[in-house]
Amino acid sequence: MIRILFFAGLREQLDCDGLEIPAAGLRDVARVRAALGRRGERWQVALQRPDLQVAVNQALAADASPVQPGDEVAFFPPVTGG
């Protein structure tokens, strides 16, 4: 399984702060994103937002970053702390 997390505006948009999905075939962030998009149009739209940031195991990552079973993958809007 892969642990998925959503934060801030994205969390509210999806009305979901996290879920687990089977890891089979999801070997990079792009594939994880695509799999989540298949959950419905709302997910498709929200996850294609071009400025969305992604972290794998709590480190900033990109679409090409590898993902393994047991990983934690988080999607979130551009950060606005400080």
Binding site: F7, A8, A55, Q58, L60, P77, V79, T80, G81, G82
Partner: protein, 151 residues
């Protein structure tokens, strides 16, 4: 050389944080501090509250990593980064970045580098509320542009 970070709901005391950066520190003649506070963004004078959400676990790692990068790059003495989460009122302090170094330019540059990276890499999100309405703060292009000077 040390990096200390904290993500906390409680307020911090800039005077106490300064004292801690200076305690038994005779090698660093320079201390630079940056503090970010909640502004009264609305020009109509309406009091506004701020809620800070973060990604527990990742936040602390990112802050520690940013601090280490600064420490290595400028040979800093001590680095201290505090960031609040939860509900904040106008005038309250959000973030503290404190850096000591033997030379003033290192301290100032290290401090500026840390706050610039924090603004674009640390997983915090601000939600402003004013009366009954609330909205997520949009990231600013200028924050991303600010990173250019550290390339």
């Amino acid at each position: 050389m040390s990096v200390e970070v904290a993500v906390q709901e409680s307020a911090f005391d800039t005077g106490a944080e300064y004292a801690s950066l200076r305690a038994a520190n005779r090698t660093d003649g320079a201390t630079a501090i940056f503090v970010g506070s909640v502004r009264d963004f609305n020009n109509d004078g309406r009091v506004m509250a701020l809620t800070l959400e973060h990604y527990p676990g990742m936040t602390e790692k990112v802050l520690a990593d940013i601090g280490e990068q600064a420490l290595q790059r400028w040979s800093l003495g001590r680095v201290r980064i505090l960031h609040r989460v939860g509900q904040l009122e106008p005038g309250e302090d959000i973030v503290f970045v404190g850096v000591t170094a033997p030379h003033r330019q290192s301290a100032l540059d290290g401090c500026g580098f840390i706050i610039d990276l924090l603004k674009t890499e640390a997983p915090f999100w601000k939600k402003e509320s004013s009366g009954s309405t609330a909205h997520w703060v949009e990231a600013r292009v200028s924050d991303r542009d600010a990173l250019q000077k550290w390339k």
